[in-house]
Every structure is written in structure tokens, then in C-alpha cells.
């Protein structure tokens, strides 16, 4: 009691602004004085004067003793109820001893005082007190002719006031206590709900949620046994997991048949709290009473089941068992259980979703790993194949050189021409093998950058030299232009060269007349663009996005006849990206294509 001084109870101020102890003592002094006066001045007393004096002395002493009593005791009904009874008896005794009025009517007042300690309604008390006074006065006046002593009339207001004071006092203390208890309980509930709403949804672990739940709910409701049933997704009406509060055992889920638990079953059906009484295991397991006793069976004289529901989905049931046969569950307790169940439902629903997401993530990761594995194997295969292929090509070209150099005797003009074609094809084959290797290398992310600052001119010279054999079979030469003010560039020149070489050789391959031109121009943001334009066959609009795909060459008769792995543009695109650049394509069928390679002036 009175442990929480911060709680303010309205309506109990007023007369109780003075500490209760002082109020009681002052009131009692009044009673003591008046009673003493009545006893001393009474004429018809049938008690010896010494006894009367002793009586008065005890009464005065009792009030003095009260000064040493603790203030807090006056809040306790165990203290003030006996006090009220003692005073009632004392006042009664005083009146009886003075013996001037029919004692019966005093009993009415005693009744009021006693009533006051039990009754809650002060207005009712006033009505009864007024009624009693009127009755008392009526009887007094009826016997007026016998009464001469005016002190008789003094008793009316005196008794009236006393009964009211005692009653009021008792009631206020009682009301205050009730209010305080309620407020404390509510504060406790709120705190509990708050910690619950914080701790439950923050956890994504099923078991942890249920443990927290068990802890919280038991703190308020104090059940003898506490169980949670979670329903099985596949068979929500029959199968589920049972989590018990077995202290010795672990809080672990046990596979159960929900139909064996009538409270749970009813709860799942009604989707609202269910209270059942006096369900005994023997009623449910008539065939095996011995075994039923040993079952972890939530069957209790009183049990309450609360469904764990969220968005119309029932996740399970909270079941509380009480050994007490007629345990009354207050609406507050049931309400609390429901709030807890709701918070649990949200938490469980989150946990379930989280589990699903995790499973999905795991599944995806496995697929991703498998894909990465397959891709890595493919890249490794490409790399080793291209290495393996280089040796026979080296042999072919080595013998070719020997023949061509006349190491095996002089060749005729015709033989030399055939040798030339042979060597050219061997070089073509080598280019394909190199493309495969480059591709696998980029795929494996192994391509390292070799950055160097340089002018673009040496690059153009190299390109011109390397493309010369291709140009020889065409009626045009590639034109090279550099715009005024193109700066020194810091980039990986070997990679830039293979990009341009690839695009240019394509341009030459796919152009039969007209021209192929490479212009180096300044672009926005300090970038430099290498624009390769040709007057070749062109690319249909809808196919432009596809030309960078692996192993794809455009269908259609002329393209089919052009050699290549189809890897060229894919690699070019990857290489351009490696050096921080990009490739843009514009084309019109029959008119030609423009490939624009834009790179930053500086790459790290």
C-alpha cells in the first residue's frame, strides 16, 4: 500500500488534507470528552463511580496510545475496522451506562457506522444517517414527558456527526485504496504491454517470442500452467506444436494433436477467448486413465484459451491452466491476455514471414552459387581450351613459316600464294582463340589495367598497321582524323586498341564500297570519343541491342558469311567498360553504322 506516492487520487483531498492519524485522534478526543461528560453527569447510573472512572480512563488512554501508532497503519482496513468497532462498542457502552434513553435506538447508529465500513456510497450513508436521526428524534419526543435532562438532545447532533465522520472516513480510505490499487495495476499492465510490444515484435526467433510471451503473461495472470499451441500450416485444425512452461525441461515445441485439447479446439473454432471449467483428463481419456495422468496435458479445473490472431489468421492459442476449481478471471485479465495474444500474433506473423524470406534467400543464394560455379567452369574451360588450341596453331604456323621461308626447299609462285592463304587462315583461327581467352578472362574478372599517359597518334598508327592486311581486299582505305585539342589520355592503351581494332575490322568486313572513318573528337565532361563510321550493310534497329550479346551474329545472308566467333563486340563492350568507357551504336540498314567509343581522359 501507498508505495506509489506519485499517483494522485482525485476527490480524496478536502478534510483529509490533514493526515488521517491526526483527524482520527481529534475526532476521538471529541468522542472521549462527550462520552466522559455523559457518564459523569448521568444520574441514573447503575455502575459504581469507580468503574465509570476506570472506563473513562481506559478510553482516554486508548487515544493517547494511538499517538504512537504508525501513520501508515491508518490506511489499513485491518487496523481501522477494529478501531471503528471498538469505538462503536465504547460509545454504546457510554450511552447504556448513562441509561437515559432507550438503548435500542443507539443501535441504529452503530448499524450505520458498521454499514459505512462496508458500504461504498456516501450519499446513501447520509440518507440513512438523516433517517436514523429523525427516527431517534421522533422516539425522544414521544417520551419527552419522562426526560428532563437537556443533555439528551445533545446526543442527536453528536451521534449524527460521529456516524457520518466515521463512515466518511472509512469510505474514503477504502476508496483511496481501491483507486490506488487500480491505478497501480493499470500502470503495471501498461508497462507490461509496453515492454511486450517492444520485445515481442523485435524478435524474429519463434522460440524467443514464445518464451517472452510466457514470461509476460504469467507475470500478470499467475497461472499454474502456461502453454502455447502453434497451429500447423498444413493441418491448422488438428496438428500443431505445444510449448509448455516446464521449468525443468526446455521450452521446446512438441508435436501434438490439437483435437486432444478441448479448450484449444473450441478456441480455434470460436476465434475468441474460451473459459472452461472442471475438464479432467479422465473425461478425455476414458480408456487410459493412468497414462492420461502422466501426459503433459493442459487439462485443469479452470482453463482459459486465447486465440493468437492477426489479420484474420490464427497462429495458435495461449492456454492457461489454474488448479483452483473456481478461479475467477477478471475482465482485466482476459483483456490483458488478448492484448498479449495480439502482440504475439504480430510477432509470430513477422517471424513466419522472416523465415520464409530467409528460406527464399537461401534458395536464391544456392542458385546464384550454382550459376557462378557453372560460369566459372565455363570460363575455365574456355581458357584451357584456348591454351590447348594455341599449341596446334603454333605448329601449323611454325611449319608454314618454315615452308614459306624456304627452309624445306624453294616454293613456286603458286605454292607461295597457297601458303599465304593458309597462314592467313591460321592467323584468323588464332584471333578467334584469342577472343575466347579474352572473353573468359573478363568473365573471371581477371583483366587487370595497365594505365599509361600518351597521345592518341601512336595508337592510330598501330591500328593502321594492323588493319592493312584487311584493307588490301577492299577498294578503300580507313581514314583517320584527330580533332583539334584532343588531350593526352591516361588509359589502358592495349584494351582501347583491341576495342577499336574489333570495331574497325568489323566495319571493314561489313563495308564493300564507300568508306570507313575513325574520328577522335572531344566529348562532354572531359571525355574523348572514338567514332567509327562506315557505309556498310548497317544493322536493323531492333537488333542493335542484341549485337553485344555473347555468341550472336546477326542473321541474314551476308552476315552469315562473315567469319567470327561473335564474341568480338561482347568483349569490346566489356573492355570499354573496364577502362571506364562505353560504346554507343547508331545504324541504318543499307546506309551504314556508327560506333562511338567514349572514354574518360583519365582512368585509374
Amino acid at each position: 500500500m501507498a508505495t506509489n506516492p506519485s499517483i494522485d487520487i482525485p476527490g480524496t483531498a478536502g478534510i483529509f488534507e490533514v493526515p488521517k492519524k491526526i483527524t482520527v485522534l481529534r475526532l476521538r478526543w471529541l468522542v472521549v470528552i462527550i462520552c466522559s461528560y455523559l457518564l459523569i453527569t448521568s444520574q441514573g447510573t447503575w455502575l459504581a463511580p469507580t468503574s465509570v472512572h476506570a472506563f473513562i480512563f481506559v478510553y482516554i488512554l486508548s487515544n493517547i496510545v494511538l499517538y504512537w501508532v504508525e501513520e501508515t497503519l491508518f490506511d489499513s482496513s485491518y487496523f481501522y475496522s477494529p478501531l471503528v468497532i471498538f469505538d462503536t462498542i465504547f460509545v454504546t457502552a457510554s450511552l447504556v451506562i448513562s441509561g437515559q434513553v432507550e438503548t435500542d435506538f443507539y443501535l441504529v447508529y452503530f448499524l450505520i457506522v458498521i454499514l459505512c465500513t462496508i458500504w461504498q456510497d456516501f450519499r446513501g450513508l447520509v440518507v440513512v444517517a438523516v433517517l436514523a436521526t429523525c427516527l431517534y428524534a421522533f422516539f425522544l419526543f414521544r417520551t419527552t414527558h419522562q426526560i428532563v435532562d437537556p443533555s439528551i438532545y445533545l446526543r442527536i447532533p453528536f451521534l449524527f456527526v460521529i456516524s457520518l465522520f466515521y463512515g466518511y472516513f472509512a469510505q474514503v480510505v477504502r476508496a483511496e485504496k481501491a483507486l490506488k490499487e487500480k491505478a497501480e495495476q493499470e500502470a503495471q499492465d501498461m508497462a507490461m504491454i509496453q515492454t511486450l510490444s517492444q520485445s515481442l515484435p523485435s524478435s524474429l526467433d519463434y522460440r524467443q517470442i514464445l518464451e517472452t510471451l510466457g514470461d509476460k503473461i504469467n507475470h500478470v495472470v499467475h497461472a499454474d500452467k502456461f502453454y502455447i499451441f502453434t497451429v500447423d500450416d498444413a493441418e491448422p485444425s488438428s496438428r500443431g506444436l505445444l510449448f509448455g512452461d516446464e521449468k525443468a525441461e526446455e521450452f521446446s515445441g512438441k508435436d501434438v494433436d490439437l483435437r486432444e485439447y478441448p479448450t484449444v479446439q473450441e478456441c480455434l473454432l470460436k476465434r475468441s477467448p474460451v473459459i472452461q471449467r472442471n475438464v479432467h483428463p479422465k473425461q478425455l481419456f476414458p480408456g487410459e486413465p493412468a497414462g492420461a495422468e502422466n501426459l503433459v496435458s493442459p487439462l485443469f479445473p479452470t482453463s482459459i484459451g486465447v486465440p493468437i490472431m492477426f489479420r484474420g489468421e490464427t497462429h495458435g492459442v495461449i492456454l492457461l491452466g489454474f488448479n483452483q476449481e473456481d478461479r475467477l478471471l477478471s475482465s482485466r485479465e482476459i483483456e490483458f491476455c488478448q492484448i498479449v495474444a495480439f502482440a504475439t500474433a504480430i510477432a509470430l506473423s513477422n517471424a513466419k514471414k522472416y523465415e520464409e524470406l530467409q528460406a527464399e534467400a537461401r534458395r536464391r543464394q544456392i542458385i546464384a552459387e550454382q550459376l557462378a560455379d557453372a560460369n566459372r567452369l565455363k570460363s575455365e574451360y574456355l581458357a584451357s581450351t584456348s591454351h590447348e588450341l594455341r599449341t596446334p596453331i603454333a605448329t601449323i604456323m611454325g611449319y608454314g613459316h618454315l615452308l614459306g621461308d624456304g627452309a624445306c626447299g624453294p616454293l613456286t609462285q603458286e605454292q607461295k600464294k597457297v601458303m599465304g592463304r593458309l597462314m592467313e587462315n591460321a592467323r584468323g583461327l588464332l584471333a578467334i582463340v584469342d577472343a575466347l581467352l579474352d572473353y573468359s578472362k573478363i568473365e573471371r574478372g581477371e583483366a587487370a589495367l595497365l594505365v599509361k599517359r600518351d597521345d592518341v597518334r601512336p595508337l592510330l598508327d598501330q591500328l593502321q598497321r594492323e588493319l592493312a592486311p584487311l584493307e588490301n581486299r577492299k577498294p578503300f582505305k580507313v581514314k583517320y582524323e584527330v580533332e583539334e585539342g584532343v588531350p593526352i589520355i591516361q588509359t589502358d592503351w592495349a584494351k582501347l586498341k583491341s576495342v577499336l581494332l574489333n570495331i574497325l575490322s568489323n566495319a571493314i568486313k561489313f563495308t564493300d564500297q564507300g568508306e570507313v572513318r575513325l574520328s577522335v573528337v572531344n566529348a562532354v565532361n572531359g571525355n574523348v570519343s572514338f567514332v567509327v563510321s562506315d557505309s556498310g550493310i548497317g544493322i536493323p534497329k531492333d537488333l542493335i541491342p542484341l549485337i553485344f550479346d555473347k555468341f550472336r551474329q546477326l542473321d541474314g545472308s551476308p552476315a552469315r558469311s562473315y567469319e567470327g566467333t561473335g564474341l568480338g563486340l561482347t568483349i569490346s563492350k566489356n573492355l570499354a567498360e573496364l577502362i571506364g568507357g562505353k560504346i554507343e551504336v547508331e545504324s541504318e540498314v543499307g546506309k551504314g553504322s556508327t560506333f562511338k567509343v567514349t572514354i574518360p581522359v583519365s582512368t585509374n
Binding site: H387, E388, R390, T391, I393, A394, T395, I396, M397, G398, Y399, H401, L402, D405, A407, C408, A426, L430, D434, L437, K441, E446, A448, L450
Partner: protein, 127 residues
């Protein structure tokens, strides 16, 4: 040239040996051959060539392993080694030089490449 210089070619592919042999004998070198690393190491016990042309991808013993052994042994460490290999990537070349190779030629190769490399290492002018 008064005395013929001896060059040892190591490759598991007989065709490559034939080609290298033809080119180098044409240039007036005495050419010996071995088909594997262990075979080379056995040969070296008897005779020290002036230069070794070594393949990398070989069964039994990897060319780089052979190179490491050659450069690690005091009596063979001074013999120049040319790696002649199908391993063409930048890291391969760098790795070869790091292990002590004196020259690196990628397959396919031309006679000029090979002769230039040898001339460079043996300090001879064009013959």
C-alpha cells in the same frame, strides 16, 4: 663462328621441337632436345648447353617448376632460358620473368622472334 653453340629445346610436342630445330640448325646452332622436364634435368648432368628453350605446359613436370630448379642450382643458374609457351596472358609473362626466365616468346611464334631472342641472350649479331 668458330665453335657451334648448343641450344637445348624442351617441349612435349615433337612438332614444335622439329620446327625450332629446323629454324635454329638453319642458323648454325647445334640443337639438342628433350621431351620433358625430368629428361632435360638428366641430360644436363652430362652436358651444359649455352641456352635452353623451355615450354611451360608439359606433363610430369611443369616448365615453371623446371625453370625454378634450373635457376636454383648453382651449376645451371647461369644458363639463359627462353620460355616458349602458349600461355599468353600478361600475368603468365610476368610470372615467367619473376621465376628467372631470361626471355619470353608466345606461341605461335615466328623464326625472327626466336632468333632475335637467342641473339639477344647470346650477345651475337645477326648471322
Amino acid at each position: 663462328m668458330d665453335t657451334k653453340k648448343t641450344i637445348m629445346v624442351v617441349d612435349d610436342n615433337p612438332d614444335i621441337i622439329t620446327i625450332v630445330k629446323t629454324i635454329l640448325e638453319g642458323k648454325g646452332y647445334n640443337v639438342l632436345s628433350a621431351y620433358s622436364g625430368p629428361e632435360l634435368l638428366t641430360c644436363l648432368e652430362g652436358q651444359k648447353p649455352d641456352l635452353i628453350v623451355l615450354d611451360i605446359m608439359m606433363p610430369q613436370m611443369d616448365g615453371l617448376e623446371v625453370l625454378t630448379r634450373l635457376k636454383g642450382a648453382p651449376d645451371t643458374s647461369s644458363i639463359p632460358v627462353i620460355l616458349l609457351t602458349a600461355k599468353v596472358q600478361y600475368e603468365d609473362v610476368l610470372g615467367g620473368y619473376k621465376l628467372g626466365a631470361d626471355y619470353y616468346i608466345t606461341k605461335p611464334f615466328t623464326s625472327t622472334q626466336l632468333v632475335n631472342g637467342i641473339n639477344l641472350l647470346l650477345g651475337e649479331g645477326k648471322s
